[in-house]
């Protein structure tokens, strides 16, 4: 490895010295006036490699020697403006009127976040960047909310979405599912053999690759900036890992100055959102059951069976009449008070800075028993001496999380005509005598009280060490090395009293399991950078980097059964291992390494070219090819820097184009080699045995994607209008298709190449400052996004998948079809005469008969347009903002409607259902009903009747803040303070009235944040 570094070094030095010589030659000419000078940094050290040139004739220039001295010869008459510039330093203009010598002090560039693109490997000047990337500061994120970075980011960045988790709702312990620019193009179901969530972007925290949990757990007050890299040109530096985009997070570094203490606290109230629930009350439920035939014997009208049913009905009716109407939904829920705190102390002088921070967060979930508690600390040290910069970041974190004992749907299902409590106030385990009800109906409230815990304790430390050395002015070399260690321990205990164990022998009652996940990973990177402005007009920068990483995972676990009670949860009190089970033990190690060469050239700030090539090596098990190459290039044209461009009102106008081949090439590689698995269960006298784990398709070609992006950045009228617009086009060909096979093929799923997929879309943001006065400012922001994918070249090859189980799945494969289309047989509604559904055949005829071959495309899950629209307002130190999400033109298959209004089996009559099952179902001839006959318990095929327009408008974030550094604060030694009030997801308007959050409900929150600087 060392050879390579030396080699690159030599190469760069050779390049630069030849350039320097050229520059010298051009400057030897006629003798006239000469300016001698020295360029120094703020500490008085001479700066080598600084470029000095005439503003009027940029080709007349020189650069400083290794002591910082320069000599600018052959200067023409008159007063001249001389520019002194150096990469990473602020540009300085000096007036030359004939003086012999000058001393120029360059200050280190204090770049604002808007001016740079932090790629995680290098920091790039935004103006010369040709890719599609957006950067947000910590303050911007905090204006949206304080929950976590990703929740705020989704409001600001239109290309990123958090897929709504309809199952887990607002569970604090469920990690969000993120997508940047839609889904990866894999057709068919993905098997879990793919290690990561397939559409998850890559996360980089302070230059280190981290898991999504590290980002979610990061206290928002520690964030300096977040950059989202979206197109091939900007993500190519991360190679094949970055196919789904990259999110780069930088934390706040310590600042020099006297000791500063800053504190910020977030306090919030979170309350469950049950507005989408529409369940029956006791009277309604009983009426519904009666009408649905729950109390009508199917054999004869006069039979003992009918008598029993009558008795059951009247006993329940009696209860209802006596006032029993239990509302179950609120029982497991609570309004919670959450708070988090971040205390940070930093200071130091110009040579050395340090920062120490601690943070604590308490995030209780709206379901009782679900908690999340975070504790973290960090120590940062930075040291600068001459050309060396050294920094070290140390982080420590502890996360405790608990899961709720009972799923929320148990409560949503509970019938309102049951009493929660017995007459003596106790909570009975069964809601009804099994002899009467025919089955055991458990009281969810009683289950809630039975111990069923799941506690995870996750402890992690990480450290990152960074060394930068600048030399020869134009070069820097930066080495980064980091490690991370994480131990997650999950303990689950289920009480022997739990109904799961009813009827089991004593040795099997109760269960305990322990699971340990140990992760150790390290990574390192060496970047050699070169950046130089030649003759004032050719800006060249280049980077070569090498990185490596290793990740070790060890998972161990065991489970025990047989406990006497809740008190002794200690494993020593168990009866022993669950019979026939073995302890869990698995170990894995993965390594990766990559080489990157990237170069950027800008001519007079007008034309920019970016080139990247990365070679990725990875030890993904089963990869046929270890190394894969990713390339990208980008060009941009900054029109405002053109000489002929005279429109003064335009501040900035840049057009960009980029193309590249991102790809989950590792994923493809994995598919192309067969894997055998050793059999740990059975042995014989013939030694080792191995069986096929996954058959390979040797003829599989790699999925190739060409990702193109066209973008436009525009600023006008003193930044009163800012616009950014991107159009992207992804062509994947051939496509990797996961097809299902009959079992006789030996494997029920196989991957093959077929056809292609074209995805295209656009996204953009527009910011307008409508009022811009000295103390008042009113801004409007609008972001939007649309995308569409179609299959090409599939032909009728996947016809068998279109036929297979067509009434249960929506997706169809043929040319021009989109992966997001919804397919179903068209429905004309319910026939008022019979209460049956009327279908429309392909030929436009009416029929009662459902036939899967009549299906057509009835909608698409992709909205026509979605995004965020918002307003922001500043007046003196007061600021307010409101951001609303809108989603227009998409459809959804209303599964809750499908499952809780119709399609109720006899079994489901035992549970509470949607009120529309009573009010909107057909009852008697003449009823104009939306849903089929109330006593029809047959299963309903999926028809267009359940495909609804899904238009959404929600208030995602509203916040009001006040900043002050008033005099009275100073008296109590506070330098500045800010306070901000938030309301998140406070109101939601949807065209689909449907239950959301099945196992865990959604929530709304109101919160307050206070920041103090001492």
């Amino acid at each position: 490895m060392r050879h390579i570094v030396v080699l690159i070094l030599a190469l760069f030095i050779a390049m630069s010295s030849s350039n320097a010589q050229n520059a010298d030659k051009t400057n030897t000419g006629k003798q006239s006036r000469t300016l001698i000078g020295v360029v120094k940094d703020s500490q008085g050290k001479g700066l080598p490699g600084a470029v000095v040139y005439l503003k009027s004739t940029p080709s007349k220039g020189t650069e400083t020697d290794r002591f910082g001295n320069f000599e600018l010869k052959g200067l023409p008459e008159g007063s001249l403006t001389v520019i002194v510039t150096m990469l990473g330093m602020e540009e300085v203009e000096i007036l030359y009127t004939g003086q012999e010598s000058t001393v120029v002090t360059l200050k280190e560039q204090a770049q604002s976040i808007d001016d740079v693109v932090v790629t995680g490997i290098v920091t790039r000047n935004r103006n010369s960047f040709t890719g599609s990337a957006s950067t947000f500061s910590g303050q911007e994120l905090k204006k949206i909310g304080t929950t976590n970075i990703l929740q705020s980011l989704k409001t600001l960045e239109p290309a990123m979405t958090i897929v709504e988790n309809n199952l887990r709702g607002a569970d604090p312990n469920t990690m969000p599912d993120l997508e940047i620019r839609g889904k990866t193009s894999i057709v068919g179901d993905l098997e879990s053999d793919y290690e990561n969530v397939p559409n998850q972007p890559l996360f980089i925290l302070d230059g280190m690759e981290v898991e999504i949990s590290a980002i979610v757990n990061l206290n928002i007050d520690r964030v300096k900036s977040v950059t989202v890299l979206k197109d091939a040109a900007s993500t190519a530096i991360y190679g094949s890992k970055s196919a789904n985009g990259v999110i780069v997070v930088e934390t706040v570094p310590p600042e020099p100055g006297r000791l500063r203490v800053s504190y910020s606290g977030n306090f919030g109230v979170q309350f469950p959102d049950l507005s989408d629930y529409n369940l029956m009350n006791a009277e309604e439920k009983l009426t519904f059951e009666k009408l649905a035939g729950r109390y009508t014997s199917r054999t004869e009208t006069e039979s003992p069976e009918q008598d029993a049913l009558d008795e059951l009905y009247y006993s329940r009716l009696k209860a209802v009449r006596s006032g029993v109407d239990s509302y179950w939904l609120s029982d497991p829920l609570r309004v919670v008070f959450n708070h988090s705190h971040n205390l940070y102390v930093d200071g130091g002088d110009n040579n050395m800075q340090y920062g120490i921070g601690v943070n604590y967060g308490n995030e209780k979930g709206v379901m009782k028993g679900s908690d999340r508690e975070l504790l973290g600390g960090n120590i940062q040290v930075r040291y600068r001496k001459n050309n060396f910069t050294f920094s070290n970041n140390f982080n420590i974190s502890l996360v405790n999380s608990d899961a709720e004992p009972v799923s929320f749907d148990m409560f949503a299902n509970a019938n309102p005509y049951y009493r929660k409590y017995a007459d003596d106030g106790s909570v009975p385990l069964l809601l009804e005598d099994p002899a009467v009800a025919g089955t055991n109906i458990y009281n969810p409230l009683a289950l809630f009280n039975i111990t069923n815990t799941n506690h995870t304790r996750d402890f992690g430390i990480s450290d990152q060490f960074d060394l930068t050395y600048r030399f020869l002015g134009a070069f820097s070399i930066r080495g980064t090395f980091g490690f991370m260690k994480d131990n997650a321990e999950t303990e689950a205990f289920k009480s022997p009293d739990h109904p799961d164990f009813t009827g089991s022998i004593a040795e099997k009652k109760g269960s305990y399991s322990e699971d340990k996940n140990d992760t150790f990973s390290y990574n390192g990177r060496i970047v050699l950078s070169f950046g130089k402005l030649f003759k004032g007009q050719h800006n060249v920068s280049a980077n070569a980097s090498w990185d490596f990483s290793e990740k070790n995972l060890k998972r161990t676990g065991y489970s025990l059964t047989g406990f006497v009670g809740d008190y002794h949860r200690n494993p020593a009190f168990s009866a022993g291992f669950d019979q026939g089970t073995k302890p869990l033990y698995s170990k894995s190690r993965s390594r990766s390494t990559g080489f990157l060469i990237s170069a950027n050239y800008a001519y007079k700030g007008r034309y920019m070219v970016d080139l990247n090539y990365r070679l990725d090596g990875s030890s993904v098990f089963g990869a046929g090819r270890m190394f894969t190459g990713t390339w990208s290039f980008g060009v941009a044209w900054d029109i405002t820097n053109e000489k002929w461009f005279k429109a003064e009102w335009v501040n900035f106008l840049k057009i960009r184009y980029s193309a590249g081949n991102p790809g989950n090439q590792n994923f493809d590689a994995y598919m192309s080699s067969g894997i055998y698995e050793y059999n740990p269960e059975y042995t014989n006298i013939f030694g080792e045995s191995a069986i096929l784990n996954k058959a390979a398709n040797r003829n599989l070609a790699w999925q190739k994607t060409l990702d193109q992006n066209i973008g436009l950045d525009f600023t006008a009228w003193e930044e009163r209008i800012r616009m950014s617009f991107d159009y992207w086009h992804k062509n994947t060909n051939p496509l990797l298709v996961s097809i299902s096979l009959p079992p006789s093929a030996g494997q029920t799923r196989a991957y093959t190449n077929l056809g292609g997929q074209i995805s295209q879309g656009f996204s953009g943001t527009i910011n307008v400052i409508a009022i811009k006065k000295r103390e008042t400012r009113l801004g409007m922001n609008w972001s939007f996004r649309h995308s569409k994918s179609v299959y090409t070249g599939i032909g009728d090859n996947l016809e068998f998948m279109n036929n297979h189980g067509s009434s249960e799945v929506f997706r169809r494969y043929y040319d021009g079809a989109s992966p997001d289309d919804i397919w179903a047989v068209r429905s004309l509604g319910i026939d008022p005469a019979t209460g049956k559904e009327v279908f429309l055949t392909r030929n436009g005829e009416y029929t009662f008969q459902y036939n899967a071959s009549d299906e057509v495309k009835v909608g698409s899950t992709t909205p026509d347009l979605e995004g965020v629209i918002g307003l922001s307002f500043y007046w003196k130190q007061l600021s307010a903002s409101i951001n609303c999400r809108y989603q227009l033109g998409g459809q959804i298959f209303a599964s809750a409607l499908y499952n809780k209004v119709e399609n109720l089996s006899e079994q489901q009559l035992y549970y509470n259902v949607d009120r529309r099952a009573l009010y909107d179902r057909w009852q008697k001839p003449g009823d104009e009903a939306q849903f089929k006959a109330i006593d029809n318990l047959d299963s309903t095929p999926m028809s267009s009747r359940f495909v609804l327009d899904n238009n959404i408008f929600s208030f995602e974030s509203i916040s009001v803040g006040y900043d002050t550094n008033a005099e009275w604060l100073k008296k109590i030694r506070i330098q500045g303070a800010s306070i901000r009030l938030y309301a998140n997801n406070i109101w939601r308007l949807s065209s689909v009235k449907e239950e959301r959050g099945i196992e865990y409900p959604f929530s709304n929150s109101v919160s307050l944040s206070i920041s103090l600087r001492f």
Partner: protein, 485 residues
């Protein structure tokens, strides 16, 4: 030039670093890069044959024997009650796993076969090539034949009907369903090819089963636990006997059976009373060392180290709930084994079930440990006795009664029962009933003969079970049928 040299160098030096091994998995190409790897893959198939969907259940002691009415499933809501009544839903669920698992193993086998041909002469020498490919072909035929018996038609009625796919491709793909007769010809060609390969090098031809543990991989030992040359010939006899209504096939079956009897009798002698009683293993009569499966004449068995738990504790142990226990009544037992001297009575013990009823408990597969013996773990698949029965039946049909009685009585004598001299066909059938309890052969005897009633073996006083020709045929699993519209 430097630019292109640098990644090249780097790539080569990093390749070694990136080559990370896995403890529990291995790449296909790496596995098949050594002879040892081939044996590991082949052993993978043998080990997986003990799956409960295969020889520890469906193909062994469970499904076929329940169908053959061996077991009393009259208890309320008995787990296998509806299967013994041949109800369609029960039949469907009973064989779902068999279909998937068998074809999965067939894919494994096809991978081995295709690699054998690729690596012949490079990785594999002629001997290992012949043994590995021969055994693999034989296993492919064995599994296809098991599937054919379930899902194929009754041959004497409709031999032309579609039966099952015969898969020979090493890649997962959709394979056409072949008519039953085409499956038979593919079976015969695989069997012939396997015999051709094994006749050259199979150590069984010289050393017999060779049950000596040489503390290595025992690659050439324990031939009775591998598809050896004789086992393949016995399979040939069984396959062709399944079409015994056609003279050609019956002739082939007889030829194979006689060949095995002639060549293998010395290596696979019938068990003696000393062996069965445990005396041979321990020096004195020892219940816990009984060779109840009569292992000596087994030509091929699968080896299940958890046989006791997987089979006995799961199906036959009297401590099981009565609605899942498989047992026979005392009278049923006596009508199966009229002679007390019968060695096969060692497979049974009188016990009480959990409800206190007297039952005859099937202890053939009870777990036991006997040093240095493999019979506590064996589940018989092919045995010598079947060859005698096939030969006897063929002779009887051909009118060669003397030879038929001679073959049958050789077996009866070996099992320590008396000579028979009349009703040859009925006696052959009775011998099938006695010989193959827990081995799933008798039901296919009935299917071959297309019987329309099955007697209740667990209790002859119960009425016979009616069975139609259609009842003998199993529907393709739904997961398969979805692709076959």
């Amino acid at each position: 030039m430097f630019l292109s040299a640098f990644p090249l160098m780097a790539v080569t030096s990093c390749r070694a670093w990136l080559d990370v091994d896995s403890e529990d998995r291995i790449l296909e190409d790496k596995l098949f890069s050594s002879t040892d790897g081939f044996y590991t893959a082949l052993n993978g198939v043998y080990v997986d044959l003990v799956n409960r969907d295969l020889y520890s259940g469906t193909l062994g002691p469970l499904t076929a024997d329940v169908l053959a009415q061996y077991w009393n499933t009259e208890a309320d809501s008995h787990l296998y009650g509806s299967l013994s009544l041949l109800l369609p839903e029960a039949k469907r669920t009973a064989v779902n796993g068999l279909w998937t698992r068998a074809y999965f193993l067939i894919l494994n086998i096809n991978k081995i076969i295709s690699h054998c041909d690729d690596k012949r002469g490079t990785v594999l020498n002629e001997k290992d090539y012949s043994i590995i490919k021969g055994e693999a072909l034989a296993l492919r035929a064995l599994l296809h034949f098991e599937l054919l018996r379930y899902f194929g038609p009754v041959f004497s009625v409709s031999a032309g009907k579609d039966a099952i796919p015969y898969v020979t491709e090493p890649e997962p793909q959709v394979n056409p369903i072949l008519p039953a007769m085409s499956v038979i010809s593919k079976l015969n060609s695989d069997i012939t090819e396997a015999i051709g390969l094994l006749e050259e090098y199979d150590p069984v031809l010289v050393y017999g089963k060779n049950e000596t543990d040489n503390s290595g991989r025992n690659i050439y030992a324990y031939r009775n636990l591998r598809m050896n040359c004789f086992a393949v010939k016995a399979l040939g006899a069984r396959v062709n006997m399944y079409l015994s209504y056609l003279n050609d096939y019956r002739g082939k079956a007889l030829a194979y059976a006689e060949e095995v009897i002639r060549e293998a009798s010395a290596f696979f002698p019938f068990s003696t009373r000393e062996e069965v009683s445990g005396q041979a293993a321990t020096g004195n009569v020892n219940v816990s060392a009984q060779d109840r499966i009569l292992s000596s004449d087994i030509l091929f068995a699968v080896y299940n180290i958890k046989r006791g738990a997987d089979i006995y504790e799961y199906l036959f142990s009297p401590s099981l709930q009565i609605n899942r226990l498989l047992s026979v009544t005392g009278s049923g037992y006596r009508s199966i084994y009229p002679e007390e001297s019968d060695l096969r009575t060692y497979q049974w013990t009188a016990r009480k079930d959990v409800a206190g009823n007297d039952i005859m408990c099937f202890v053939k597969y009870e777990g036991m440990e006997v040093d240095g013996k493999s019979y506590p773990y064996m589940i018989p698949v092919l045995r010598m006795s079947e060859m005698f029965l096939i030969a006897a039946e063929c002779y009887a049909v051909e009118g060669k009664e003397d030879l038929a009685y001679e073959r049958l009585n050789t077996l009866r004598n070996a099992r320590q029962t008396s000579k028979v001299t009349s009703a040859i066909e009925a006696e052959i059938e009775n011998e099938y009933v006695r010989e193959f309890v827990g081995e799933g052969q008798y039901f296919w005897f009935c299917k071959r003969k297309n019987y329309h009633s099955l007697s209740c073996l667990y209790d002859r006083s119960r009425p016979d079970r009616n069975i139609s020709t259609e009842d003998y045929v199993f529907e393709l699993p739904q997961s398969e049928g979805g692709f076959r519209e």
